[in-house]
Symmetry: C2
Subunit: 329 residues, 2 copies
């Protein structure tokens, strides 16, 4: 039964308020990977933590912070929603390697090495040329491995992603992206990347963002389940989870900021274009966190076994976090 | 006569104190491109300006700030040493395009797109793979062109340098490096780069840093003049100046900081190695700013014409600054 399971959404960036938290609880979400950072630097990231500290203080009946996998089990037991943080960019460490441990201790459990563009560590998926992991990037990966900060390559280019998988002594994740075979898009991942990811024990979170899906906003729940089935055939069920990329109640200005940060004077439209510059229409079967139950039921209907479904819906994320968040001695 | 000429050193990073300024004045240096930044971010760069504001206030009899080419002529007229600022990295703009105009207005006239490593804008000469100018880099070049901030590719990798020359609507400089034909080193530039640079009206400042010279610290003044002569044959005398890279009275800790910034946990030795980790021995004929006169006399002895010598010693830099520092309408 859905309500008894560990349900983990491996990426959301929703407007953080009591209504959102209530919605997560009502939808039986056990834990959510919340994006703390798109472009924020070290100092701004600290303000992000401060904002969430206040939210935790004011909503103790709904949410709790997650620092390790046990906290997710505790959240389930106490009927709270566990929140764990990640950055979609390496901007929280500025250009200082020592900030990795500082951020990890504050609760930044996951960090992308780059967000679409070239970063100091690696190349993003929107650049023309992918130089792979940089000199600083190699040191950052080693340090992230040491302190137990998870490497996320969702928005990275292919060569950089393959090198990160190879260089990292720990499994990495692609928290929110889909296979390229399901939909051709700069953000989606090739069979080669998916195979390399799974071979090293990594995890892929399937995205519900229409720009990453077959037929975009017209993608059916059945299409989505078929994509999961094909990916399971390719790399095995144990490497699969959900990373919905849900962005509830965010204005268009937030989308423009995600795409442009402070680096661009011209308007960059990301996966859209000048004539299609706003948020894509949401999926009717994934309008909010309660869509997770639709996926659960959809997978049942598609013919997945019960033990496969619970893996995809949360147990794989839980196990991955369990293995990833310990500090190496 | 040397004393009547415009003498410009296109790069120094010496300990900034009254003794240094007196030495510049005594050596008849008209203007110096002073490195304000190696790794400093936006906020730290402001403190760098504040430090220099105080130095200008306390040493009005020796130095004056240079914001344009006319200020250099004024410095000459008033028997002062003109100081103009550059950054060896793009760190002063953090990840914000708008910081280019802010920094330019404060007096940052020159900025390297990268210092040895990959930056947000381009690839440095120590990286294994050179991805060229990034998405942010293309916008930054356009903005630097607009506000009249000079692009410097001294520490950049080859593809990035060629692309910067090509993309920039204005001539760029390589303020301090030598031709690869004179000495094989990661920091030195190929014939292809030098030709492309000069074809677009750019400028090369010859470095006196032993790691960039034939026979390193044993390089003779005659070797140095021969390198200039060969480069003049290759790309013409009008593209040539001096950018000594003089780092007087800086402790080894500064060299280690240049090389490692805050990005590296392991010690990086730059152009040196674990057994040769300190400052290289200085050239006997270029121990301090008075070495500029030795070069002047050396070029005479080598057989350069008087009008060629004054170009290399400062007039080419002056003309380049004249053309580069105006704001586009």
């Amino acid at each position: 039964m859905y309500e008894n399971q560990i349900i983990i959404d491996g990426l959301q960036y929703c407007k953080a308020d009591r209504k959102y938290f209530q919605g997560l609880k009502d939808a039986n979400i056990t834990a959510v990977h919340v994006t703390l950072v798109y472009h924020e630097d070290t100092r701004q990231t600290l303000s992000g933590f401060a904002k969430w500290n206040k939210l935790f203080e004011q909503n103790t009946d709904l949410i709790m912070p997650v620092m390790n996998a046990d906290d997710i089990l505790l959240a389930k037991k106490n009927n709270l929603v566990g929140i764990f943080f990640g950055a979609q960019n390496c901007s929280p460490i500025d250009c200082e390697i020592g900030m990795i441990e500082v951020m990890r201790k504050l609760g930044l459990l996951i960090m992308q090495l780059t967000y679409n563009n070239q970063s100091l560590l690696a190349t993003g998926c929107y650049e023309n040329t992918d130089s792979g992991i940089t000199r600083f990037g190699k040191q950052a990966i080693k340090e992230m491995n040491r302190v137990g900060m998870i490497i996320d390559m969702s928005h990275s280019a292919q060569k950089s992603t393959l090198e990160a998988i190879d260089i990292s002594s720990r499994p990495i994740c692609i928290s929110h992206a889909n296979p390229l075979f399901a939909h051709k898009g700069l953000r989606n991942k090739s069979d080669e990347v998916l195979k390399a990811l799974a071979k090293k024990g990594g995890l892929l979170g399937f995205s519900l963002y229409p720009f990453h899906l077959p037929n975009k906003s017209a993608c059916t729940l059945d299409d989505f389940c078929q994509m999961i089935a094909k990916t399971a055939d390719l790399i095995g069920i144990d490497a699969l989870g959900i990373g919905s990329d849900l962005c509830l109640n965010q204005p268009k200005s937030i989308l423009e900021w995600m795409r442009n940060g402070t680096w661009s004077k011209d308007m960059d439209y990301g996966e859209g274009n000048a004539n299609d510059s706003g948020w894509p229409d949401g999926l009717p079967w994934f309008k909010n966190p309660s869509g997770m139950k639709n996926i659960y039921l959809g997978l049942e209907k598609y013919g997945f076994k019960a033990e496969e479904i619970v893996k995809v819906m949360g147990e794989n994320w839980l196990k991955f976090l369990e293995n990833s968040l310990t500090k190496l001695t």
